[in-house]
Symmetry: C2
């Protein structure tokens, strides 16, 4: 194989947009979730995130990275204020609307209104779910880690509730994201529909 | 839409394997990377991880979660020891071998030998790259965060080098993972080949 090589110095010399595309795409494919929050004046907010990560199953914990200096700053302050948020899986049909939530709307504009996605409230949970999403998680704030290296914030949440569209949940607990028509992303602007290659057995030394 | 609903109590009552499958799959699709490390006795180690996350592009920083109590414990101790590691994108052709690295091999067995993947060393960088991978990152350790909530470790690394197969790098800096035949994963055992839906323009308020 023939490779194109960059050292750290070469990356530093790239113009900003090139560097952003390069570094965002080298990590591999990313999940796409919409974070639903609400402030103390009952104003809703919705932001697309591609940094959601499974931390552990017992207890069920999920992390995400928020960059306070950029778009989802209302998301961060709302989570600190209310202690609750939702994660809503993005499907093929929702890609344009999800991407549009990354526009810099003023605080008095809800991304729900701006994009036409529908907030729903369930069982007294304070943060809004996205009605169009077939996989909706209610999350409660657990830990926040300030990452000194670049000033981002890592938010760790506990899974408070899971709502998954009928028919996608297997007998073994596996949620079939293919059946939900969920997407993944790469870089900052590319969206994909994954096709199953195979499921493999639990690995043991041969 | 009709939903199947779980509250935290319902999740807690699931048997272990069901809970692991459920919580691993609700976060969405995940990247698949092989982490290459080496110990002070020059023994190499290779571990598959699905928790790699872009933290920022300037400076270029990437995080991953390591669970010291489970399989990649050698990975964690090797990174702390040598301060360097590699991230190697997994392709369709490498899925079985990558998955097999998650088996619990004893410390004196290198997962390179056990799976038939090929370690290569480049430009004096101490950690081994995976020769079969078309996207190889040299990483230097930056920060470690111990996550109190479940005892996992978050490793933050700086991008030291990038080697990407010729032909996959766009003029805008975007690395086309499709051209590399890269995969994504869901749950603990399902692997997928994503198909591009579209790339979208930078979002602005309408």
């Amino acid at each position: 194989m023939s490779y194109k090589n960059f050292l750290a110095d070469d990356v530093e010399k790239l113009d900003k947009l090139n560097r952003v595309q390069l570094i965002n795409s080298i990590v591999g494919y990313k999940s796409v979730n919409l974070v639903g929050t609400i402030d103390q004046n009952k104003r809703t907010n919705l932001a697309v995130v591609s940094s959601v990560c499974h931390l552990g199953s017992n207890p069920p914990l999920i992390s995400m990275i928020i960059r306070p200096a950029t778009v989802p700053r209302h998301t961060f302050s709302n989570i600190l204020e209310s202690k609750y948020y939702t994660l809503n899986q993005v499907t093929v049909d929702m890609v344009e609307q999800a991407h549009q939530t990354s526009a810099r709307y003023p605080k008095d504009v809800s991304e729900f209104d701006a994009t036409g996605l529908t907030p729903i409230f369930r069982d007294g949970f304070v943060a809004p779910f996205v009605a169009e999403s077939p996989l909706q998680l209610g999350m409660s704030l657990n830990e926040v880690h300030h990452l000194e290296c670049n000033g981002t914030e890592m938010i760790i949440g506990s899974v408070h509730s899971i709502s998954v569209k009928e028919g996608a949940l297997g007998e073994d607990g596996f949620v079939d994201l293919n059946k939900l028509n969920a997407v993944c992303a790469s870089g900052v602007d590319a969206y994909y529909k994954p096709e199953l290659i195979k499921r493999l057995a639990y690995a043991k030394p041969k």
